[in-house]
Amino acid sequence: MIVAQQKPLEEILRMIDPYERIMILGCGTCMTVCGAGGEREVAFLQKALEIAESREGEKHTFIPYTLKRQCDPEFLDLLTDRIEDVDAILSLGCGVGVQALAERFSDLPILPGVDTSFLGMAKEWGVWDERCAACGHCMLGETAGICPITRCAKGILNGPCAGPKGGKCEVDGERDCAWVLIYRRLERLGQLDKMRRFYPPRNFERPKRILRRT
């Protein structure tokens, strides 16, 4: 799932300043699950913006709406009737949603309301961790299902570095060293030989389009 967090109110206020009628558009998929841009956040943001504006003496009109998904053109078609007199869309969708909107509505400014942060998962209520960098060359099979790209601060493929102390990362003492975790899990699985292999530098080339038309 894509995880994001809402932009600071100040930044949003600056972005929407030139426009009068603004649609706050939530996304009913990842942004709802990660609590950054579902129907509740749309309502909360609208009220927060209205209060902030009333202090500044400015006035915009907000139209709240939430789509099931912003990253597919067919869903965006549902907006056509609603945006006739809208000056801009403040999208609480991820970066994909913002761009999909921009592609679909070529004459309308689309503003990002959230900072798309990573692909991750919920650890518990209200806590999300990054898990995948979408690097295009998954090597989780070699690393006991623990991703060194996202979870190692240095993203190294032949770890650990010389830094970990007591199983914790030298960059962030709160964080577990990914390579220690990988070692422990390989040990459990009886696959420590995978530790001894050398992995060549990773290929940074990734597909920009996937075709599956057969």
């Binding site: 009913g28 709802t32 699950v33 609590g35 509740r40 927060a48 209060i51 518990e124």
Partner: protein, 707 residues
């Protein structure tokens, strides 16, 4: 986007108490109102389904409490005692029922017991002229001649009859109906026969005829009609039902020194109400279980009752274990009086010509309540054999509508409840529910009560009643996912529920089992897709409606908004005083539990112009788990947001009793602080815009309409 239908639709399930009540009273609703201290509204809800709540408040056998799911957690909610509290404090004696005659068909009710009363009440409401015929000199049937005064004071019954008479019911006392033909000749178009079961059954043993032996119903009737039978010092009562207990306790009050109840089965099999037995024991009534009289001999003025001990054998047709005599265990018992209270049967005048069913009762059609004679309906003990007051009221009510059907030539439609009944609590859920001990209303001490026929049970005080009412689990009024399509399956509800009720079903869909949900509202306020709603319309609309009201008619600024828990004395006592301070700019939004206050609600208050917002919860008094914890998190979220808006985070505050000092003092401090912030902001605005301070806020003018 949100389906309109859900706004006002009641989507609750029927709670078990309501399902168990023969009158299907909306117990969950009125108990909730009592918990909020809204006693008059509670009485109104009670009166919707029960024509004589004051009677039920005293003597109902409360099948609702037997069904109460709280009973699985600790002890059932004291529903009957709460009803009594609502009746006494809600002003029931002031209630007048409007009834006007709109029909010309006259209806006769034979018997003025609870079934007859209820039937007459509803027939009057339907507009029929009604006459009640009563053979005794006092109206009320078993309420008057069966139930002793210490359980149901006479004034209560009299008050209900006064009210019936003011409704236009004609009451003919000392009038025994011997022939139904005569009633039809008198012009009555329909007759409801509810003559009760006043004929005491006999033991059928040697020596039963003769002085010193009396049946329970006759004994109670004589005492209740003002006679004072001489019982002597030692009294025995045969039987294990409520009449036996009533007779035993009445005998004590008439001055008997020793009263013993002889019952042929064990204490578990005894049909009498447990509380009654307990009270009888407190008063000194002795219970001899597994004992039955064999024959009665007379020695001088005394009775020598030869009894035999019993043991329990195989279960009989009633499911209870059949008592079997133990050979050679006979023993004598010397008594002055023996009261036989082993059951009653109706005594039907022969000329009624009604078809008789099992046990000398009247045979009726179960749906239409019609007898074999056209226009003659029957109900109550005369049909069922001795039963309870609430069952009689229910059948009387039904009879009124069936008679209405008959007189309108309508085919009776069986009543069917569309909504399902709540199921059982799972042990996992029970383990999570907070245990709160039941608080029964106080009773007179046994030494005092055996001397007189004064009422034994007293009424709750406000504090006790509200505490007791708060124990209600609100079965069936929980949360539900009303739009599956918009549910993102984010699992927030699973993670926030203090009772671990929401779950994933086999196909990976989130479910909130209605049988288990405790209606705390936390998931409703946390769901990021806003697809969870409370099943009860009032619960889901209350805060939004209050905020709308505030937007329209709220005080002019500057103002402060407080979201205040309505439960407990905290809600009804301290904070209700604040309402009067509306002039001072404090606007109170009553909430049924602060766990239901959403972050947007708090922001909305600021949007409407509040300078400060506070939430007052009930703290440890809350019968639900984690409500304050989650509210605290929402307040934190709003605080952060306020900071970003350029407002001081101190403008929002949470109050809980037990923390800090007196709530009102804390509030005063808080409002002073808010006032300071307000003034500071005015100065800032003035400097910034150099304009009129009152215009400085530049709010939407529609929100600033003064009162």
């Amino acid at each position: 986007m949100r389906a309109k239908i859900t706004t006002y639709q009641d989507r609750t399930l029927i709670p078990p108490c309501q399902a168990a009540c023969p009158l299907h009273m909306r117990i969950r609703e009125y108990v909730d109102l009592i918990a909020q201290g809204r006693i008059m509204e509670a009485l109104k809800v009670i009166r919707e389904d029960n024509p004589f709540p004051s009677i039920c408040a005293h003597v109902c056998t409360h099948p609702c409490e037997e069904a109460c799911r709280r009973g699985k957690v600790d002890k059932p909610v004291a529903i009957r005692a709460l009803k009594r509290f609502a009746v006494e404090f809600g002003g029931d004696r002031m209630v007048e029922i409007e009834a006007e005659t709109r029909r010309k068909e006259k209806v006769a009710v034979v018997g003025s017991g609870p079934a007859g009363m209820a039937c007459a009440y509803y027939l009057r409401r339907l507009g029929y002229p009604v006459t009640i015929f009563e053979a005794h000199s006092e109206p009320g049937g078993m309420l008057r001649v069966g139930i002793p005064r210490y359980r149901l004071p006479r004034e209560i019954v009299q008050r209900e009859f006064d009210r019936l008479i003011r409704m236009g019911v004609e009451l003919r006392l000392n009038t025994r109906v011997v022939s139904l033909d005569l009633l039809f000749e008198m012009g009555y178009q329909a007759v409801f026969v509810t003559i009760g079961a006043h004929q005491g059954l006999r033991l059928g043993i040697e020596g039963e005829e003769g002085p010193g032996v009396v049946d329970g119903a006759t004994f109670l009737r004589e005492v209740n009609l003002g006679l004072k039978p001489l019982l002597g010092e030692k009294v025995g009562v045969v039987g294990g039902g409520n009449v036996a207990i009533d007779a035993a306790r009445t005998a004590l009050r008439l001055g008997a020194k020793e009263v013993r109840v002889l019952y042929r089965r064990g204490p578990e099999e005894m049909p009498a109400s447990e509380a009654e037995v307990q009270q009888a024991k407190e008063e000194g009534v002795q219970f001899d279980y597994l004992v039955a009289p064999l024959r009665i001999e007379r020695e001088r003025n005394k009775l020598k009752v030869i009894c035999i001990r019993m043991k329990l054998g195989e279960p009989d047709s009633s499911g209870r274990r059949r008592p079997v005599p133990i050979e050679g265990s006979e023993f004598p018992l010397m008594l002055d009086t023996l009261i036989v209270a082993i059951g009653q049967a109706p005594q039907l005048p022969e000329d009624f010509r009604l078809r008789i069913g099992k046990g000398a009762t009247i045979h009726v059609d179960p749906v239409s309540l019609a007898t074999n004679r056209p226009g003659v309906f029957a109900g109550g003990d005369a049909v069922t054999g001795p039963a309870t007051v609430v069952e009689a009221l229910a059948v009387g009510k039904r009879a009124a509508f069936r008679i209405d059907d008959y007189l309108n030539h309508r085919y009776p439609v069986p009543e069917k409840e569309a909504r399902p009944v709540v199921g059982d609590l799972l042990p996992e859920t029970i383990a999570m529910i907070r245990k709160i001990s039941r608080m029964d209303p106080p009773h007179l001490p046994p030494e005092v009560r055996v001397k007189e026929f004064v009422p034994v049970e007293m009424v709750y005080g406000w504090e006790e009643a509200i505490k007791e009412a708060r124990r209600c689990l609100k079965c069936g009024a929980g949360a539900e996912i009303f739009s599956r399509d918009r549910c993102a399956s984010c699992l927030t509800c699973l993670r926030v529920c203090p009772y671990h009720v929401p779950r994933l079903n086999g196909t990976g869909e989130v479910e909130i089992p209605a049988d288990q949900c405790q209606a705390c509202g936390i998931c409703v306020a946390q769901c990021p897709a806003k697809v969870i709603i409370l099943r009860k319309p009032q619960d889901r609309r209350q805060i939004a409606e209050e905020l709308n009201h505030l937007a329209r008619y709220g005080p002019s600024k500057p103002m402060m908004v407080g979201f205040c828990c309505q439960y407990g004395l905290y809600g009804t006592g301290v904070l209700s005083g604040l309402y009067r301070e509306k002039k001072a700019g404090v606007y109170i939004i009553p909430v049924s539990c602060v766990g239901k206050v959403e972050a947007e609600h708090l922001l909305e208050a600021f949007r409407l112009g509040a300078e400060g917002v506070f939430v007052a919860g009930c703290g440890d008094q809350c019968s639900r788990e984690d409500t304050a914890l989650w509210l605290g998190r929402r307040i934190e979220k709003v605080r952060e947001s306020l900071g970003e808006m350029g407002l001081e985070p101190e403008r929002i505050k949470l109050f809980m009793p037990g923390e800090g000092r007196d709530l009102l003092e804390d509030l005063r401090d808080f409002s002073q602080k808010v006032a300071g912030l307000y003034l500071a902001s005015l100065v800032r605005q003035e400097v910034k815009y150099d304009s009129c301070p009152t215009e400085a806020f530049g709010r939407d003018p529609t929100h600033d309409r003064p009162l």
